[in-house]
Symmetry: C2
Subunit: 436 residues, 2 copies
């Protein structure tokens, strides 16, 4: 796999655009740029539409504004807006100016919405009908539109003269209705929609919940401005769902295995420093009991066990909570129920593990006190783990921060600090009260 | 939220079935069972179709086989098969026997496929056309089928007389083609499909990659047996994507925040015991150096910092890899590239953190050796973390196990053992060579 295999344009041009995009991602940047330049422009556009925006920005970096505009010409406005959104402001302006005004206008409109809002992921190519038109008139009008981007259309939208959405017609209704029926009589008036400024996470949730194939997007005034397709929602759902995994451990949510290390350093190191700061807090607890350890070094052996088991249990709790939040399955009041459940669970697990650790400590070092201290500290730390695993994500959410954000760092801080404190504190008491 | 609010059936019956299903989940089991019994049967069926299978099994637990059969009558075969799949074999047989043979047959057929395969999630209600039919004949035939489950149909499938798939027709093609054209001339022969025994994770990947709205499912002989809809794929994608989060930390992938603690104990405790076993391995390293700690207790303070930072960095690497695997973005050869990247990154991060820890160790305890040992151990452990974060998921995958399975436990074992060993080993050498 080390030697780059020479790429034949003919071979690539026969692939599905999604597969061709995959191939391009696997080539060194310069080679991929060359391939993209050599592809027929409509194919290049479809490939660009499949690539992630960041990658496209890199691939077209050496394109002249005119050449870039030529490519954009072939893209649907939402794809073009995504690409232009990645350019720096200077280049963005130059490129937009190269486009014909009627091509540039819908792109400019889409660029007004944040990237991760409904407006940012919607397409503004949709078929809007008038409620007074007949089914036959609509069929005739639609027949005239030979646009491959409409291939997958499932719903059509009926609007009034203010462009406000009044109803929805499935393509199936249009096929099976009498030619002279009015759209207004065929359409479904109970329309579900989403606002253009809604967060993309909300969209994924709605699609999953209601099994939509497409969802109309309305602006502040109720005007239809676009449509989010099911495939867009699928992509969002997967991105959002897996993003939490990264946020939990202090990553940006955007890092990939082959993200260049120069980029990764800047994103990971800050959180490692945060973790270091919290580790010093935990170390401070150990330092506070340094004399105790000096008198009873066996404590140092069991210290990481108590803390580590707490960290693991805390991560289990945290992960269950974060996932339920991501899947939208938690409602008000569930936090308290979950806390109760986790504390009960922690007491059972804590006892189950604590007894084993205690027995090992007792038998290994022949010291009953060590076993008792380890068992009690384990139990207490499991409860601390459970409480932090529930309260930290809910706390972050309350503070309007993503509940996954670096939450594993905070949870393990609690389990380290609490674990060290319980274990060494009890060890100190055992030494003091029970004598040496 | 503590007092159960009395539920009005009239209020519930006005909700969207998906919302009604949500409400049912929030009621105590017995109350939910009552509500389900009181709903009009077609509505009850739509609600059941929205619920998770496990929950449905609980809700219908007290239904007689006849009553259950009545409900199943209203469900599409795939929904009915999902529900029946949750029953114990005895009950399953009884219930199927209550159904009319023509209702039972398609359900029995679906029950042959594993729950998490394409066959297990597909619907076997689809519209199959004959290639020789004309567009007009098809339109007339379709008009006759007044089935609300076909509302969202987007593609129609053309089969030969062996029921083998030969082409695909979008509803749009059907609308816009001349009435006398033959289906064979209108259809797209370049059909993408999936095998009935394909894993559901593969389906989600295909949908996302190619932006499908529906994907035909073929059996071994190329016969069309069902269709996977986009909304099913969305659900699978989200479940699969977030499942990894749970597997990583030793959960079943199915636990929810409000899963009863009795169930959770059985799933979490075994992994906590596995973690305990590995913790004892790490403790064994500390025990091996107990004399060194006794002579130099400051080591005990920095021990958890070195191990903890390693654990954190290892989790970052692991999460990036697992996520890319889940999103299907890693190809052969990428493992080595990722390993190289992570090692470079670990050396940079390790040095950046190591120098800080070293400086603190030196200044705090006024001991240059402590700083030097902490810095070097930190650097080495970051590299160990990076290597295990890449190699453990790839190793699990190589062994045909889910790469996420308990991987965080394995990674933190490596970072604990390696961290303790590097730090205490270097501490021992420093004591021995540099004198006290």
């Amino acid at each position: 796999m080390d030697e780059p295999i020479p790429v034949s344009i003919d071979h690539l041009a026969r692939l599905h655009p999604a597969d061709l995009a995959d191939e391009l991602q696997r080539l060194p940047t310069e080679e991929a740029q060359d391939v993209l330049q050599q592809l027929p422009r409509p194919l290049a556009a479809r490939v660009v539409d499949e690539l992630e925006h960041e990658q496209v920005a890199e691939l077209v970096a050496r394109f002249s504004p005119a050449r870039l505009a030529g490519l954009l010409q072939e893209l649907p406005p939402d794809g073009a807006a995504d690409l232009i959104g990645e350019l720096d402001p200077e280049r963005r302006r130059e490129t937009l100016n190269q486009l014909a005004p009627d091509k540039a206008a819908p792109i400019r409109e889409l660029l007004r919405y944040p990237e991760d809002s409904a407006g940012g992921i919607m397409s503004n190519r949709f078929i809007a009908l008038r409620a007074d038109d007949t089914v036959q008139q609509c069929q005739a009008a639609l027949r005239g539109r030979a646009d491959h981007r409409l291939e997958d259309v499932t719903y059509l939208y009926a609007t009034d003269d203010q462009r406000r959405l009044v109803g929805i017609v499935s393509l199936r209704d249009l096929v099976f209705s009498q030619p002279h029926s009015r759209i207004g009589d065929v359409m479904n008036r109970d329309v579900r929609f989403i606002r253009a400024d809604a967060d993309q996470e909300e969209i994924a949730r709605q699609f999953e919940h209601y099994h939509y194939l497409g969802l109309p997007v309305l602006d502040q005034d109720g005007r239809l401005v676009g449509v989010v397709r099911g495939s867009d929602a699928l992509e969002v759902a997967k991105e959002e769902a897996t993003e939490d995994m990264q946020l939990m451990v202090g990553l940006s949510g955007e890092e990939r295995a082959l993200t260049p290390w120069r980029k990764s350093v800047g994103k990971r190191l800050p959180w490692l420093y945060v973790n270091l700061l919290t580790a010093f807090m935990a170390a401070g607890v150990v330092a506070f009991f340094e004399d105790t350890i000096a008198r009873w070094t066996a404590l140092a052996i069991f210290l990481p066990i108590v803390a580590g088991q707490g960290g693991n249990a805390g991560m289990q709790t945290l992960t269950v909570i974060i996932r339920d939040m991501a899947l939208g399955e938690l409602e008000p009041g569930d936090g308290r129920k979950a806390l109760l459940k986790e504390v009960v669970l922690a007491m059972i697990n804590g006892l189950a593990i604590g007894l084993v650790v205690g027995a090992v400590g007792w038998l290994w070092k022949g010291d009953f006190r060590l076993g008792a201290v380890a068992c009690a500290a384990m139990l207490l730390n499991q409860v601390a783990a459970a409480m932090s695993g529930v309260m930290i994500p809910f706390g972050l959410k309350f503070m309007k921060v993503d509940p996954a954000l670096a939450s594993s760092i905070f949870v393990t801080t609690v389990t380290d600090v609490a674990g060290f404190f319980f274990f060494l504190g009890l060890g100190y008491l055992a030494l003091t009260w029970m004598g040496w």
